[in-house]
């Protein structure tokens, strides 16, 4: 008597596991892990795994903001530029004698202001996110080169580098930055999955017309998403200074590609309304593992970009195909 229901509940659990959006990305992550550990025994050393986590911090944090924006069916091409704006401003201000806490706060504020500009243009004037953020990318990149006269400079302040401090955990070396990133994931996950705001982010990305008809203030919601994302990019700037005590206007050139790849590989649809942060964390780790594993294998960074580019196209193609089936 019991066996049929036990069987069907077993089946429904299996169905649930396969149906859970993050399972696919997790399998991809494990597959890359297996491949790289077979080709290089050093890959699985706790020291190397710690390094992967640390290398994932910047892209992983930027990908949180990118996820929010892509969930609304938007895209942010200024993600790296806004983060670099944060590092340059914080570094310049601190180096010219400002209190480092104030310097960092002002830098985060400047990043957030860039989000206000992007969100305002997208929500208020209904301009396409692609064009708005591309424009902001150009503006910020040029402005930064003018401010910093094209050159990188070192930032040695203790507070600005604070996120690079480490704690040891069973041989793992975690930076404060890694912990801050994980806390941000937890916080934004809660907002997305447990609050009305998060529910409305999904609804607006899925069907903005339906969202408007049920009375969701679509413009205000979009603005809040771009502002929160840019604030997170500002935090990412602090984490970046903790990783490398250097502010470089030419840094994070691949941040667009890497953050979008992390989001899309993580199962969030570019069409909006589908996906989530857990997948993005896994996606960011996939990008991190890929770059780390290829570096260990002695492969030129240009090949890493090439492979990441292929990966994002494959992920988008899969998204398109599964969407067509529905």
């Amino acid at each position: 008597m019991n066996s049929p229901s036990a069987l069907s509940s077993g089946r429904s659990i299996a169905k649930k596991v396969i149906g859970t959006p993050s399972v696919g990305p997790l399998l991809v992550l494990l597959a890359f892990g297996v491949i790289f550990s077979l080709t290089n025994p050093r890959f699985l050393a706790t020291q190397n795994l710690s390094i992967i986590l640390q290398q994932t911090v910047i892209i992983g944090t930027l990908a949180i903001g990118q996820t929010l924006i892509i969930l609304t069916a938007g895209i942010d091409l200024a993600v790296g530029a806004i983060c670099v704006l944060g590092t340059i401003l914080a570094g310049k201000l601190a180096n010219s004698g400002y209190d480092p806490v104030l310097a960092m706060a002002l830098a985060v504020l400047a990043c957030t202001a860039a989000g206000v500009a992007a969100g305002g243009l997208i929500a208020g004037l209904r301009l396409p996110p692609f064009i708005v953020t591309l424009g902001i990318l150009g503006i910020i990149t040029a402005a930064l080169r003018l401010i910093s006269a094209g050159g990188a400079f070192s930032v040695t302040d203790a507070f600005l580098g604070w996120t690079g401090n480490t704690i040891r955990l069973n041989g793992f070396i975690l930076t404060y930055g890694v912990i801050i990133m994980l806390l941000l994931y937890g916080l934004i996950w809660f907002l997305l999955n447990q609050t009305q705001w998060g529910r409305h982010v999904y609804a607006v990305g899925n069907n903005p017309e339906a969202a408007r008809l049920v009375g969701i203030p679509v413009g205000r919601l979009l603005l809040s998403v771009y502002v929160l994302a840019a604030f997170i990019y500002g935090i990412a700037a602090w984490l970046a200074l903790g990783r490398i005590p250097n502010a470089d206007p030419n840094a994070l050139q691949t941040a667009n590609l890497d953050s979008i790849t992390a989001v899309v590989i993580g199962g969030t649809s570019l069409f909006g309304g589908r996906g989530g942060l857990l997948g993005t964390l896994i996606g960011a780790l996939i990008v991190g593992v890929l770059r780390n594993g290829l570096t260990l294998a002695g492969i030129d960074p240009l090949w890493q970009d090439l492979i990441t580019g292929i990966l994002v196209i494959v992920a988008v193609a899969l998204d398109q195909l599964t969407r067509g089936k529905r």
Binding site: A203, G215, I216
Partner: protein, 271 residues
């Protein structure tokens, strides 16, 4: 007020609505009347101004002239939100559901309930369990059969999606539910299911405005039929005493409304 009197006050009424778009006259001295607890079908040829009429009643369009009354009181809806707050819910023709959200999430979209206590007030956490349970009960009360309230709407058939949209309107509409071509995209069997659902919405005490092109649907469930032509109400007839062909003839202008002996409301002025 006795029940007899209150029953005679239309739940919704409009007098002399006018709306111009440049030189185009969309509403030309249009009257409207919806009785308490009835299903009123609104029919009319393309371009007759049905949708402008409905928009003027639900706050999506502000008329240039004329008055709208709800329960005998004059109302001035500035937006669809005003109308919603007054108890009028509209299901628009383009399926107004979020397909990536599940049924419960769609029923509560824009009206999510937070947990009580600190979790809700400080952390703004949603009470998902309460919303799931109440959504499931609501769907049961309306006789809509679904596998699970947690199903994403994208997994539902067209008829089931429409049922979710109608259920949503019935859940929040306190007075009037407006349905814009609810069966336009549906097959025969699903159409029947949606019509049954509309009857149950009426049974719950709501008044229903049904905009439809489908004469079989209109004659199957409407209590009265409002025929719209050239921007105003040509006549109101009963499906029991007026034939389909007469309704179509008045709609298209082949028959003068005065010629319909069985009309409940004759045109107010000579043509």
């Amino acid at each position: 007020m006795t029940q007899d009197q209150s029953a005679r006050i239309p739940v919704m009424q409009a007098v002399g609505l006018k709306k111009h778009y440049g030189h185009v006259v969309a509403l030309d001295d249009a009257d409207f009347e919806l009785a308490q607890g009835e299903i009123l079908a609104v029919v009319g040829d393309n371009g007759a101004g049905k949708s402008t009429l409905i928009k003027a009643l639900t706050g999506a369009v502000i008329p240039d002239e004329g008055d709208v009354y709800l329960d005998g009181r004059k109302v001035h809806f500035k937006s669809p939100l005003n109308a919603r707050l007054a108890g009028i819910e509209t299901v628009y023709q383009e399926l107004a559901v979020a397909t990536q959200l599940n049924i419960a999430q769609n029923l509560y979209l824009g009206r999510e309930v937070r947990k009580s206590g600190i979790a809700g007030t400080v952390f703004r956490q949603l009470d998902k369990k309460l919303m799931r349970n109440q959504a499931a009960e609501h769907m049961r009360n309306l006789g809509i059969r679904i596998q699970s309230i947690n199903q994403k709407v994208e997994t539902l058939s067209g008829g089931q999606r429409q049922a979710v949209a109608v259920a949503r309107a019935a859940a929040w509409g306190r007075k009037v539910v407006v349905l814009d071509e609810p069966t336009a995209a549906l097959g025969v069997r699903e159409t029947g299911q949606v019509l049954d659902l509309i009857r149950r919405v009426k049974d719950q005490g709501l008044s229903v405005i049904l905009i439809s092109h489908s004469m079989p649907d209109v004659f199957a469930i409407a209590d009265r039929i409002h025929i719209h032509r050239l921007g105003h109400r040509a006549a109101v007839v009963s499906p029991k005493s007026t034939s389909r062909s007469d309704v179509v003839a008045v709609m298209t202008g082949a028959l003068e409304p005065e010629a319909v002996q069985s009309a409940l409301i004759a045109p107010p002025r000579a043509a």
